[in-house]
């Protein structure tokens, strides 16, 4: 019975996402038209010049000689069959380009989510338990510092210290491109390469979650149900573990869901610094090349990612707090 209700809930939520994603695509399509210059000029620009016939021919091939609404309708029509179009600049179908980059992006995002959430929660918890002691102050001040430090600077400093000076980690990339490891060696190699980018991207979110968790814990501890639990004769440790902790997690989980979008955004910088072959770099390149097919594909995929993560967060709510109903 409960399974069926979760199933229909997920289905309903998925249907609701369709207009959201359509909106994302249409708004982005129109916004991109406002940028001056187009792909044909960029391609000709990269070529160091070209004949007018060549540029006109490029525009015709890209469909840019058509009125705007025809271009939009064509794009939407193709989207229905999950045809994301062709990137003329990269000479490859958009879907292939996206799928190539999705793996590294999910890897970095997933690792960052795990590291920042778990460490953030633990640090926030400890700070709340040690509230108003020097340990709490140390954690809180560090969190503020990390929160305020620009990502690219953290990345470059980590490279300078741990790659260049200490030589503990490789400077950049996803794996050793001279050795081309296979099997478990390759897994180990990728994990080794992942450490610095994951740490860099994690510090900001870690700080955010730690501060949120601390505040949330302190707030929950002052609520009536804690007094009730005390009256029942539960110990402080039991109350914290069984009641306060679970309730305090809710805002942190919500924030983690909301932050997925910005996690994708932050990864643009980290991917650039560490030469990580993810979606962020692809988005950056395609924007400056006015490669709209590719860019719209990235927006489309990112929108789906954010929607899916938020759906997962909502399902997680039900598990954390049975009072929340699927509705």
């Amino acid at each position: 019975m409960k399974n069926a209700s979760i199933g229909s809930y997920i289905l309903r939520r998925l249907l609701q996402t369709v207009p959201v994603i359509l909106g994302v695509v249409i708004v982005n399509f129109l916004l991109l038209q406002l940028a001056p210059g187009d792909l044909a000029t960029v391609i000709a620009g990269e070529a160091g010049g070209a004949t007018p016939e060549y540029i006109a021919e490029l525009r015709a091939r890209f469909g840019q000689d058509q009125p705007l609404y025809v271009q939009l309708l064509n794009y939407m029509g193709n989207l229905l069959t999950f045809d994301l179009g062709y990137s003329f600049r990269q000479s490859a179908p958009v879907l292939d380009l996206l799928l190539d980059r999705l793996g590294p992006t999910l890897l970095l995002m997933g690792a960052t989510l795990v590291v920042s959430l778990s460490l953030g929660i633990v640090l926030g918890l400890l700070a709340a338990l040690w509230v108003k002691t020097w340990k709490d102050h140390l954690i809180s001040v560090t969190a503020v510092l990390l929160y305020a430090t620009p990502l690219f600077w953290v990345g470059l400093m980590l490279v300078l210290i741990f790659a260049v000076k200490l030589d503990w980690f490789p400077t950049s990339g996803m794996e050793d491109v001279v050795a081309f490891h296979e099997g478990w060696d390759r897994v180990w190699d990728i994990a080794h390469h992942m450490v610095l980018p994951t740490v860099t991207l994690s510090v900001f979110y870690l700080a955010l979650y730690a501060r949120l968790m601390r505040a949330s814990m302190l707030e929950q501890r002052g609520l009536d149900y804690v007094t009730t639990a005390k009256a029942k004769g539960l110990t402080d440790a039991q109350i914290t573990r069984r009641h306060v902790f679970r309730n305090a997690l809710l805002p942190v989980v919500t924030m983690a869901g909301v932050q997925t979008g910005s996690l994708l955004g932050g990864s643009v910088v980290v991917e650039a610094v560490f030469a990580w072959p993810g979606l962020g770099q692809l988005a950056y390149q395609s924007l400056f090349a006015r490669d709209y097919n590719l860019l719209l594909g990235i927006f489309f995929l990112s929108a789906i990612l954010v929607v899916v993560v938020n759906l997962l967060v909502d399902i997680l709510y039900v598990i954390l707090d049975p009072r929340i109903r699927l509705g």
Partner: protein, 528 residues
Amino acid sequence: MKRFLTTAASVALATALSVGGALAQSQGGTLVQITQPEPPNLAPYVSTSGPIAQVTSKVFDGLLEYDFNLQPQPSLANSWEVSPDGLTITFNLRDDVVFHDGTPLTSEDVRFTVMDVLKQAHPRGIATFRNVTAVETPDPHTVIFRLDAPAPYIMMALASSESPILPKHVYGEGDIRAHPKANEPVGSGPFKFVEWRRGEIVRLDRNEDYWRDGQPFLDRIVVRFIADASTRTAVLEQGEAHVAGFGAVPYQDVKRLEALDTIEVTTRGYEMISPIVEMIFNTKEPPFDNAKVRQAVNYAIDRQFVIDNVWFGYGTPASGPISSNFEPSGLFGRGIDFSVPDRIDIANRLLDEAGFPRGADGVRFEITHDVTPYGEEWQRFGEITVQNLAEIGIKATIRYEDLPSWLARTYTDYGFQLTSNFLFNQADPVIGVHRGIHSDRILPGTVFVNGSRWSSPETDALMDAATVATDPAARSASYQALVPLVTEASPVAYVLELNYPTVLSTQFADVITGPLGIYGNYAFAHKR
């Protein structure tokens, strides 16, 4: 007897190699090259985006290679002959060349490449091969170009980076502009394409069947793409990569890397590229419709200061539209010297004469200065320009846009007054210089052509003469006459010849072996 044969064979091999320009080298090693930015595709026959040929020049061969004096050298073509009237060019092809899929190269592949691909779809090839009316293939190893007018610059445009020879049986099928092999190139060069992990690397492995026996020496080339400049420097410093050029390493970092024992820096290998930093005036609108004003700006720019402080010494003051790299071939010309000691006085006098007196605040007029969106150096160059112009009473404000916006402003809308610009002379002035100043290259919507919209019948005639002249002395005379006229009219301020530094690991030798540098094929590169 057996020993004798082995010795004879090794002597023969050594001789063959030394004829090729190198002694017997140890086999092996992986060379890691940094290319910035990542190429959009690996189809150099339809796209001339700079980074592409840094990768594909190792995969494809050209008909010719070139030495440091810009003289043609044999490659796929063993020998060649240009008829006295310049209307027929005959190439004799090697008979031992096979493409990476095992199919032998024939004259038909060359005909297909030139007539069906480069002349139709290559952004520069359309112009370069305009006068080629037919390519004849009397036998599998002879190719004859038939021209309707002489085009001496064709002989300079036959390297792999400019005109790669494609296998017809691969690229002849389907639409060449959206070809399935666009990102998996198949050529006859010293390295075979293996894979391209987007955003990460291209891997090229040794071609066992390369026509230069025993070469290449390297087992593998890996080309890495790293978006962040500081990371590129760190990677080179750590020895995780071994070669990077074309400004991939920030100039201030080049100086620091050069001091390391593991790294050397060379500025050779750009002789057929010849980048020029310049500034274009909008000659159709005041105040820059007046040649005196344009000359004044030309005098005001402190070229040596820009070279020393923006490009960290990697430059030479330009003396006109043609790079001094053409001095050996006689095509170089010298214009007005704008770097004279009393240049500021001259500039002030010119502006007074042009009718722009200084106001009460010392300002003659105000302009907007657009900056080429190619990175930090260009912003700093713009800032110095603003200071230089202030000295002669011109108040300039900087505008910095992204590349597509700037291209549209400069070459489509002409909505600029003074903009910095970056043009390559390429292998011949006809290819790289005429486009900036000839009247037939005033083409709204076409980028990197005549954006100043200035021209004169006299200069047009000189360039037209140089285009068809088969006699090198006649071409030389045309350019000697052209350059002073152009600098006098100053539609463009030619600021400096940029000498790109290439950063190299000392672990490897013979990486840069010709005037195309990183656009070379690395067939001779080897581990020390």
